[in-house]
Amino acid sequence: MVVGDIATGTELLVIGAGPGGYVAAIRAAQNGIDTTLVEKDAYGGTCLNYGCIPSKALITGANLAHEAGNAEEMGIHADPVVDMSQLRDWKSGVVDQLTGGVEKLCKANGVNLVEGTARFKDENAVRIAHGGEGQGSETIEFEHCIIATGSRVIQIPGFDFGDEPVWSSRDALEADTVPERLVVVGGGYIGMELSTTFAKLGADVTVVEMLDDILPGYESDVARVVRERAEDLGIDMHFGEGASGWRDEDDGIMVTTETEDGEENEYRADKVLVAVGRSPVTDTMDIESAGLEADDRGFLSVDECRRTDVEHIYAVGDVVEDTPMLAHVASKEGIVAAEHVAGEPVAFDSQAVPAAVFTDPEIGTVGMTEADAEEAGFTPVVGQMPFRASGRALTTNHADGFVRVVADEESGFVLGAQIVGPEASELIAELAFAIEMGATLEDVASTIHTHPTLAEAVMEAAENALGQAIHTLNR
């Protein structure tokens, strides 16, 4: 164990081992760059430990139990009992397998791993504080640095995550019992994914959202499919209300909310999950010492190679201004930064960033909506295919939702897509690829799609935009 301060040097220092940082580190090492990765907590970052992965694992369990318990029409009679602590342990096993994998992959690619918290000393060095008392610290000098310190959950007045009944998403993902009554503050994607999960696991769920619909940012016909399904699942949604506080009651807690015109409401609960957003982690490592400054919300601005204002210091992932706070964006930015350090002719020049919401049903979107396309100066043409006309969707007993493709009328170039329905998160891949390729509606429509698959609906939406769908009526 090293106590005191020794200085080492590295060509590239990556701070933070989330999907931005570890991917950057591996790619840099693959390109022959001497790379050091510092992480203060756990390999895989928010995504693998407290975000994407554990949430999707719980969703799998909740879906299976709920579906099997509600499939009488298919002749399946079951009354599944979910042992929440077992489900949690299984989920933790998945997380461990993946985070262990990340560590192994880093090592196998030759990345130097350092545990500790990094703070900038100056433009070319950080000091690493090792965890625990008397673990000392070390200085690492670098030629290039990639900041990938990610984000943390936002706390709102009146709700302290230190209090036992107040849950962050991370607490929710660690639950070993299902609360009888759960109030969820925030109807964004994290709030809705967890609301759906806990409703399926048996909780009485109430969602409180300040705006006038769930999933702000999504088109209303997309959100509607999820909202209606949430209603079917018994989720009680209240819009135009902000949570103002909570208090203990004899039996559980009482969550109070306020509307814009000052009306107060109260909801009984056992737990309250606050999921109102995340903010970048740029305030705990003395970025000023490196000559950097974050914007007023804490984000760092970068150029197309992900360089900050200090040319040899890059930023990727949730800390970056303007790109969505998503794991795959972090990874792509990490790759771009790493390859740029290695001298490759790269840029973050993706034409469109896909995104998925793992609600019931799922949402997958990429690129422009019809309105976006109009705004950008295109004359959009739109094609749609409802899943209830898809043979595959009907055979899976999940036929809500649709595939919509947005294209430029004149050229036929695919500009965007919105999918809500079964496997939307997977189906969006083909359309994201189509947009990157500069493909036209005709390209998508005339590619043979396997029968019976949900992907055929992608083809049919393109055909619909061309006025020649087979399985849905053309306008």
Partner: protein, 107 residues
């Protein structure tokens, strides 16, 4: 070919072609795409690079040695390839062309 105005000023080209343009220092906005609706192909970018003359500085990053190979050098072999080689790759481009390209060819 497309004049770009109907396309909101955006250039439509696959990722590999965009990267090649950066490598060869070709400004994609100035390339006339020969694909369907003016999609820019690898051949278009290479032709544009030839037109610009060989001495052009790539607008990409500096060239560094990594794993004993230089990324830019790797690609340079491609640019200085013989006419025969580029003809061959043009052939392949045609046989492996996208559905809309093939439809165009048939019309």
């Amino acid at each position: 070919a497309d004049d770009g105005s109907s396309s909101g000023g955006r250039v439509f080209a696959p990722p590999s072609v965009r990267r090649l343009a950066r490598e060869l220092g070709v400004d994609l906005d100035s390339v006339d795409g020969s694909g369907p609706s003016g999609r820019v192909t690898e051949g278009d970018v290479r032709a544009a690079a030839e037109d610009d003359g060989d001495g052009d500085e790539p607008n990409g990053p500096r060239t560094v040695q990594s794993n004993g190979k230089s990324a830019t050098a790797k690609r340079d072999e491609g640019t200085s390839a013989s006419a025969a080689a580029s003809a061959e790759s043009a052939d392949r481009e045609q046989t492996l062309a996208a559905p809309a390209t093939r439809a165009l060819a048939k019309e």
